[in-house]
Symmetry: C2
DNA sequence: TATTGTTATACTCTATAACTATA
DNA sequence: TATAGTTATAGAGTATAACAATA
């Protein structure tokens, strides 16, 4: 695939005495062509993810939850007693980056940490009533946001998109 | 959607004399349930993007190009004379973050900066022969990587995925 | 010996405000 | 007055190495 954007703005640049007029050294671009990048899954997935997350950030500010906070709280909500290690494996996070996040959630009273029933090294993470109530609202808001975000997709297209994305990372 | 993961490891915890045995306070999670998160476009798009980019980083290390470097060079390659401002708009980057990147590409001899033909404030970015040659190889490698990455997708599914992602961010 | 959770730390990425030169 | 490019800087996100406690 060669340069697919031949439309340039060119100054008249009347050169003096040239039977075969040489091309101008400099040229300007009228419309930027990104058609090559648009053939790449990585580029499109990244752009789409960032666009969605942008709206997510605004909507979730009310709950004080950034994307990773949200996903961590959601997993704890649906898996009370889950350990940090399990969270890392499920969400592809690194343990050191989870420590401060967990502490913050505990300080806010959204979760509490209880000893693991069988493994003395591990700690089970449980939602507090406040945390559970917050997540019920937050997940509803996230689901509402999904519908707004995918307004340009049919329900079937949205389902297809989810399935195809999961084929990539699962 | 309530808790869809009832499978817990529970210690027998034989309580003393209780006709209605109370549930254990602590419980462990056997398998982490992420089914709610998997209904969200943002979560899936982000996970997929990060998975793809992980492979991209490894493959492109040979060319010394990170994802943003690659996309910037690709746009310059296909749009010689493009300005920083146009790059920012096309790739959703912020001007201050592009400055160091452009300088680095110029220092490496991959691009050169020429005065804009009509706007004295702007600078046109052009690939050097070395930059153009590098990008020809890098884009071929990226395209090869795409095929490997989407091995679990049919050609039609891959096309569908690209189109649906573009409906999200374009 | 391997694993869970933690600390310290470094590096990258992204975002904001303010300045200059030109349109 | 508005725009292109730049500088300085702050903040968030992500990465590795090493340690204590427990399996």
């Amino acid at each position: 695939m060669a340069n697919a954007n031949p439309s340039r703005t060119q100054r008249p640049s009347r050169r003096a005495s040239s039977s075969a007029p040489s091309l101008p050294v400099v040229s300007a671009v009228e419309q930027v062509d990104t058609s090559y990048l648009q053939t790449l899954l990585g580029y499109n997935a990244r752009r789409a993810a960032l666009t969605i997350i942008e709206g997510f950030l605004e909507r979730m500010a009310e709950f004080g939850l950034r994307p990773v906070d949200f996903s961590v709280m959601s997993v704890i909500q649906h898996n009370p007693g889950v350990t940090s290690r399990q969270l890392c494996a499920a969400l592809n996070l690194l343990p050191p980056n989870l420590v401060g996040l967990i502490q913050s959630l505990e300080t806010r009273g959204l979760i509490h940490r209880l000893p693991h029933p069988t493994d003395g090294r591990a700690v089970g993470l449980h939602p507090t009533p406040e945390g559970a109530a917050l997540m019920q609202k937050a997940e509803q808001a996230a689901t509402d946001l999904e519908e707004a975000r995918s307004a340009r997709l049919t329900a079937a297209q949205r389902k297809t998109l989810l399935e195809l994305l999961q084929k990539i990372y699962l």
